[in-house]
Amino acid sequence: MTLYIVRRLLWAVLMLLAVSALTFVIFYTLPSADPAALRAGRQATPELIAQIRHSLGLDRPVYDQFFIYMKNLVLHFNLGYSYQNNISVRAEIASRLPATLSLTAGAVFVWMLIGIPVGVLSAIKPRSLLDRVAMGASLVGISAPVYWLGLVALFLFASDIGRIRLFGGAGSYVSITHDPRAWFSSLILPWFVLAASFAAFYARMVRGNLLEVMGEDYIRTARAKGVSERRVIVRHGLRAALTPVVTIIGLDIGILLGGAVLTETVFNIPGIGRFAYDSIVNSDLPAIQGTVLFGAVFIVVANLIVDILYAFLDPRVRY
């Protein structure tokens, strides 16, 4: 097991290196605006742009820039400084992490609370009215784009522009240490909007898994033992049906911690996703690089945790 984890961690480092290199390559291959020109302002002289380009190190060859970036990252854990405003990318990400964490944690809670019970109830009574309604609604949830759902939610319920002014609207986010009540109110809409598609997806997944498991031979054995139907479903059915769900939850959390770009942008939450969006708009390579790398770290770590956890949940899995 230890050997397995060590091997996985080594692979993770290699993976992150590849991610950084790829981000560099993509940034320089795709036609983006010249960062130096963007920074120089509207009436920039060519000399000014050249000077800025030199000071940012943009006149060096790409591999040189990559090497300097990696050296700073590995030796000083330094993610560089934003082209836009010279702020340390590392500090910026750290300051935005609580917002993303708040958003993710709440959304995960909401979607599990909705998705799993709905999936279970649908599976217990397949083709019932409840099943049909739930699966129909989940199709809507999966299909509705987050930005659209977010705007609709704001239009209906936001305290500033909504028809029914219930919850904090876009840009109302405050940190939990500052004002817990306002924090909660400001995140209710984003939580539900972000959770909607996940809840729908999880409901369908749990339903499908449980339906399949309930047809297994060992469910028949449990019934043949005279175990109550409730116990058959919970201890035998769900025990087997929810194990694969754990994998997906882990990966989804990992992805969201890297920033829920659309939700954070629509609700103007100062999280990592919003930062990533802004940095892409501004061709701010160090910031892009930082957010991509940060997101990749979460995904790689989440993957590892899920795989280790799986060995505990399913005794047949051994590393």
């Binding site: 047809g215 297994e216 031979d217 060992y218 028949r220 054995t221 449990a222 019934r223 043949a224 033992k225 005279g226 175990v227 109550s228 116990r231 201890r235 035998h236 025990r239 087997a240 194990t243 949940l313 399913d314 005794p315 047949r316």
Partner: protein
């Protein structure tokens, strides 16, 4: 009256392709300490019969008719809660594939204890001790370690022993074994059959042994019922059915058994044709399209199950003397009972 008596059981399923007549008027009986061998091809309705006794026909559109009398009460009439109290406690069942029949994510001890806890209010310690005893009784080596094993850590034979331990831990009056040895190695098959027989002798359990293998029946059963297309073709005491079989389908089963003492050049004699569709069961005698002896009346009238010799019933239109003649000839070539 026998302990378990199935009377004119009919089970059909509504499917998209039509109505499946899985069991079509089956009557069977098994008593304490006796073994009934239920024989037939896949799809002959033997497993559905057994699952119906347990109340485990899982098809949502099943329609069930007839009577299943257990200890005087009709299992088809009692409430689900009452049936649950009988299931596992007084009537237990083991299945064909022990790997898929055991929960892969629970320890073996847990799975046995659960059977105890489902019916008796005992402490965890007592349940565990009884689970351990059950494992020892079915001959599992270092049983106390095995309580904490998972099914995938055991061999096929050991897993089936665990299934037997689960089934017998509450000392049921009836054990239904649905192809208990089909998924196992031949050498292990004999051990499992022996184990069932030994435990049955000790406890006086009535056993319904479902199999497609007449060899297994010859070794274990007291009575035999041969099923074809959801109906009983022939039933009676073991010796009578094997030594004087009177149904052409039974002859076919006997002739298709491979024999070690036959010359290598002799070919096997499979029954020609395919098992019938249970949606469009052939008219008259369901076996007539495959029967080499079929004649005029066979496709028209369903043969009733009639007493031919004491305790031996046959559903066939052939004249009795003809049946007996062919039957003895087939048996003398194929069977050596005892």
């Amino acid at each position: 009256m026998a302990l378990l008596e199935i009377q004119d059981l009919r089970v059909s399923f509504q499917t998209r392709d039509g109505v499946v007549h899985a069991v079509d008027g089956v009557s069977l009986a098994v008593d304490r300490g006796r073994t009934l061998g239920l024989v037939g091809e896949s799809g002959s309705g033997k497993s559905v019969t057994a699952l119906t006794v347990m109340g485990l026909t899982k098809h949502p559109n099943a329609s069930i008719d007839g009577k299943i009398l257990f200890d005087g009460g009709d299992l088809l009439q009692i409430s689900p809660a009452e049936l649950r109290r009988i299931r596992g406690k007084r009537v237990a069942m083991i299945f064909q594939d022990p790997l898929s029949s055991l929960h892969p994510l629970h320890k073996i001890g847990w799975q046995i204890e659960e059977a105890i806890n489902a019916h008796e209010d005992v402490s965890g310690q007592v349940a565990r001790r009884r689970a351990l005893e059950a494992l020892k009784e079915v001959g599992i080596p270092s049983a106390s370690d095995r309580l904490d094993s998972y099914p995938h850590e055991l061999s096929g034979g050991m897993r089936q022993r665990v299934m037997i331990a689960i089934a017998l831990v509450l000392d049921p009056e009836i054990l239904i074994a649905d192809e208990p040895t089909t998924a196992l190695d031949v050498t292990v098959q004999a051990q499992i059959l022996d184990l069932i027989r030994v435990l049955q002798d000790e406890r006086g359990t009535g056993v319904v042994l479902i199999t497609h293998d007449l060899g297994v029946v010859a070794e274990t059963a007291d009575e035999v019922a041969v099923m074809y297309a959801g109906r009983i073709a022939e039933r009676g005491p073991l010796e009578s059915v094997l030594e004087a079989p009177e149904h052409p389908y039974t002859w076919g089963l006997l002739q298709s058994l491979p024999r070690l003492d036959a010359p290598r050049t002799e070919r096997l004699h499979p029954i020609s044709g395919q098992p019938p569709s249970l949606i469009r069961v052939p008219s008259g005698c369901a076996f007539h399209p495959r029967c080499p002896y079929a004649f005029g009346i066979c496709p028209q009238v369903v043969p009733p199950l009639l007493v031919s010799q004491p305790g031996h019933e046959v559903a066939c239109h052939l004249p009795v003397p003809t049946r007996r003649g062919i039957g003895r000839e087939v048996a003398s070539k194929e069977v050596s009972v005892g």
